[in-house]
Each structure stands twice: as structure tokens, then as C-alpha cells.
């Protein structure tokens, strides 16, 4: 059996409720994270969709940014969706110059890469190890422009990676929390449980 672990959801701004519902449906222990203290109580963190510029400001103001960066450097599991993926990148194109980069993954991401709200789209995508396609919603989604050799691509749309993993970091440019399908969240839960049990040993 896996070691029991608590999964945090960054609750500064954005679609964090939907992530909480998905993780709870998978029987995970979930906790909202708004401060550095909250972060010490969890074994992994979901960074939701929202506005990355807004979340970046709030990460700085709450002092949470520094703590999170440090934990990520030590292998703390993180899962970013849409804006969350932008924040996890090593560098951001079309962001704001003062925007925080958490550098959780060796990727370069273009903010609003597919355009504005009206260019949002949905599509069934194939994901590695999934038997049936996943219905993915792309809302003002970012595009991964460059990625390092250590980044594993789990799904692509028109040649662009849309679900990627590097070690204990997972990121999607779409919103798995906004469809009833729980499979992408299952991947992250197993990453957290594995990471937690290896640390317990």
C-alpha cells in the first residue's frame, strides 16, 4: 500500500474548487493552500488555472513563492494546469517581466499561445497509457514552445505537447479539472504517493 499523503491545491485565485472536487472524488486527502504554513502540511501541490499574473503577485505578497520554489528544487511534486503550467515553466514568453517562474520543469511556455477567450476550443486527445481518449478543454491555453530532453511528452495537439511530465512535476495546457474524467488527476495522485512513500523509507 502507498503511504497516505495530503494533496494541496493552491487557492490564491482561479479554478481551485474544481481540483478539490476531483481529488476528493479520488479519495485523496485535500487541503487548500494559501500560505507558506499550509504548504508545509501537504505532500504535493496542484497549481490551478486562473491568471498566472494574478497568482504570481499573490505568491510574492504571501511569501509563499519562495517557500514553494525551494520545495520544488527539492523534488516536491507539483501539477499545473493551464496558468499553473505557465508558472511551472523555466521561462515564459508574452508574460510580464516580473512574473514568477517556479522552474519546476525544463519547458518554455507562450502565454495565451492559442489566442484569446474566443479561440478557446475542446478536443478529444490521446494520452499515453490511456485506453480511450480524454476530452480536453483549452481555455486561453498556453503553448509549450521548447522542452528539455528530460521532459516526457504524454500527449500532443497539432505537434505541440499538451501534457508533460518531468520527475515529480506534471503539467497540462488544458483543464482536466473541468471535465468529469478523473484519469489525469489519478496520474498526479500516484506521483505524490510514490514520492511520499520513497521519502518515508
Amino acid at each position: 500500500m502507498n503511504a497516505r499523503a495530503t494533496i494541496g491545491v493552491l487557492a490564491l485565485q482561479g479554478a481551485f474548487d474544481a481540483h478539490v472536487q476531483h481529488l476528493s472524488a479520488l479519495d485523496a486527502d485535500v487541503r487548500l493552500v494559501k500560505s507558506a504554513n499550509d504548504l508545509h502540511e501537504v505532500n504535493g501541490l496542484v497549481i490551478p488555472g486562473g491568471e498566472s499574473t494574478t497568482m504570481s503577485n499573490l505568491l510574492v505578497a504571501s511569501g509563499l513563492g519562495k517557500t514553494l520554489s525551494k520545495k520544488i528544487d527539492d523534488g516536491f511534486p507539483v501539477f499545473g494546469t493551464c496558468a499553473g503550467m505557465i508558472m511551472m515553466a523555466q521561462s515564459i514568453i508574452d508574460g510580464r517581466p516580473d512574473q514568477i517562474v517556479l522552474n519546476a520543469m525544463d519547458i518554455e511556455v507562450r502565454r495565451n499561445g492559442y489566442g484569446r477567450q474566443n479561440d478557446s476550443f475542446e478536443q478529444d486527445i490521446d494520452i499515453e497509457s490511456f485506453d480511450v481518449p480524454f476530452h480536453a478543454l483549452f481555455i486561453r491555453a498556453p503553448i509549450i514552445e521548447k522542452l528539455g530532453d528530460d521532459v516526457e511528452v504524454l500527449s500532443t495537439v497539432n505537434g505541440h505537447p499538451v501534457l508533460v511530465r518531468q520527475g515529480t512535476a506534471l503539467a497540462s495546457s488544458f483543464h482536466p479539472e473541468l471535465v468529469p474524467d478523473l484519469r489525469v488527476h489519478e496520474i498526479f495522485i500516484s506521483i505524490v504517493y510514490e514520492s511520499n512513500s520513497s521519502q518515508v523509507r
Binding site: 481551485f16 494559501k34 494574478t54 503577485n57 493551464c82 508574460g95 510580464r96 502565454r111 474566443n118 486561453r140
Partner: protein, 277 residues
């Protein structure tokens, strides 16, 4: 992706930058803030496309713009301009006294105001993707926003406790589609996000709206009609995130300079919230 955030009214690209710097999750581009519309009088219309383009170019966050109630051509123009959301707004002078815009004819999502649950459900049945409680724009007075939020959320609670036969009566009373009333009875919430607008002026106002159950707040005149817009905007963003933490609320509320003066409800002769049907 606007949830848990602050949407700010801006009238220039410079203000839009200040809003983005402060952490706004979107801006509302308009020619005059509601407080000035109230003061100046006359007919308030959709903004000049040049001004909307200027604001779109200035920021990377979503840009909303207002069309008059029922003015579907203004909405067509806003969609052609590529704004991210269209607000069919009572703050502008209504163009149609019987019909709202058929929002299903557009691909751009709409936000619409409501003072009560019936109005909210009528807007949703017309295709609104987001509902905001109306409050009373341009007053700096939150009393109407609180009234509208409590009314909408209070009725949702009552519907949750109603039996299936009573839902028919609810639909009749609210003048709303039965299917939406039944959906609320099942889920306990609106089928679309519920935001709060109209009269918010302080970090405490934003936190009050959030504690009452709003998912995001609009701040219109409250920011750029105050002494120190940049600091106030940032404080309201932090208050919206940490809305249950009174210590943080105390900290961010300090030293912001004077808020907009504001006006009492008995001092105004035109209630914008009464516009819309």
C-alpha cells in the same frame, strides 16, 4: 478562470496596466466609470473601439467590454473586436425595454447582471455564461450588492429545501424556466459562476462579498475614484484571496488613503439595478 479574482473597471490603457500590475484577473474597458456616468448624465453607450483596442494591447489578462441591454449590434461589434467577455450592462443606457440580447447567437461569452434569482435564471436561459449581482454601480455603497447576493443565494438555499411539487411554484414565482429551477434543486448552486458587482470600494467590501458567497468581485469606480488606485487595487486583490483571514484583511486595509466618497441610496435619482427585465 476568473474565479477568486478581481475584475477592475478601467478607462485608459494606463489604468489597465495599473490594474494588471495590482493583480486583476481581468479588466472591464469602458469610456467612463459608473460614478462619472451618474454625474454626467446623458446616454451611456458602448466604448470607442480605438479605446478598447488600446486596452487590449496594453495588458495580457482578459478584457471585457460593455454593450447596452438589448443592443445586439454593439455586442456584434465587441465580438468582432475580439474582446474576451461581453457585459450586457445596466450601467449603460438600455437600448431595448423588453428584450435582452439572444446570447446564444454569439461565441464570445456574456456576463449579465441580476438583482434576484429569477432575473439570473432568465439571463442564463438567454445564454449568459456568468452572472454578477448588480448592486448599485457608481455609488461606492455596497448595500445593494449585499441585498442582491443575499436574495439570489437565499432563494437557492430555499429551493434546495423544496420538494419536487414546490419547484413548479418556484419556477412560476421566479418567472424562470422550470428545468433551471430543478437543476438548482439538485446541485444547490447556479449553473454558472456567480460574481458580485456594484458599489464595492474597500478590501473589506470585497471580502464581505466573498464571504457571502460571491466567486469573484467586480470593482468599478471604487479603485480609480480613490486617492491611491494602485495601492487600493492591490489590497482588494489580496483581500479577495484571503477573504476569511481577518488579520490579513486588517493589514491590507491600512494606509490606503481615502476611498471614493460614495453616496447613499436615498440621494440617487436613477437606480441602474432597475434596468433589465
Amino acid at each position: 478562470m476568473l474565479k477568486g479574482g478581481v475584475i477592475m473597471d478601467v478607462v485608459t490603457p494606463g489604468q489597465a496596466k495599473i490594474a494588471e500590475d495590482a493583480g486583476a484577473c481581468a479588466v472591464m474597458a469602458l469610456e467612463r466609470v459608473p460614478a462619472d456616468i451618474r454625474k454626467d448624465g446623458g446616454v451611456a453607450r458602448m466604448s470607442d473601439p480605438d479605446m478598447i483596442e488600446g486596452i487590449k494591447a496594453a495588458v495580457t489578462i482578459p478584457v471585457m467590454a460593455k454593450a447596452r441591454i438589448g443592443h445586439f449590434v454593439e455586442a456584434q461589434i465587441l465580438q468582432a473586436l475580439g474582446v474576451d467577455f461581453i457585459d450586457e450592462s445596466e450601467v449603460l443606457t438600455p437600448a431595448d425595454e423588453a428584450h435582452h440580447i439572444d446570447k446564444y447567437k454569439f461565441t464570445t461569452p456574456f456576463v449579465c447582471g441580476a438583482t434576484n434569482l429569477g432575473e439570473a435564471l432568465r439571463r442564463i436561459s438567454e445564454g449568459a455564461a456568468l452572472i454578477r449581482s448588480k448592486g448599485e454601480a457608481g455609488t461606492g455603497n455596497i448595500v445593494e450588492a449585499v441585498r442582491h447576493l443575499r436574495s439570489i443565494l437565499g432563494d437557492i438555499k430555499k429551493i434546495g429545501a423544496a420538494d419536487s411539487a414546490e419547484l413548479f411554484e418556484w419556477a412560476k414565482r421566479l418567472q424562470a424556466p422550470l428545468s433551471l429551477v430543478q437543476e438548482i434543486a439538485e446541485t444547490g448552486k447556479l449553473p454558472v459562476p456567480l460574481f458580485c458587482a456594484g458599489g464595492l470600494a474597500t478590501p473589506a467590501d470585497a471580502a464581505l462579498a466573498m464571504q457571502l458567497g460571491a466567486e469573484t468581485v467586480f470593482v468599478g469606480s471604487g479603485i480609480f475614484k480613490s486617492d491611491n488606485p494602485a495601492a487600493r487595487a492591490k489590497a482588494i486583490v489580496e483581500a479577495t484571496t484571503h477573504y476569511t483571514d481577518a488579520k490579513i484583511l486588517a493589514k491590507v486595509s491600512a494606509g490606503l488613503g481615502a476611498p471614493m466618497t460614495g453616496i447613499g441610496m436615498d440621494e440617487i435619482n436613477q437606480r441602474y439595478a432597475d434596468r433589465g427585465w
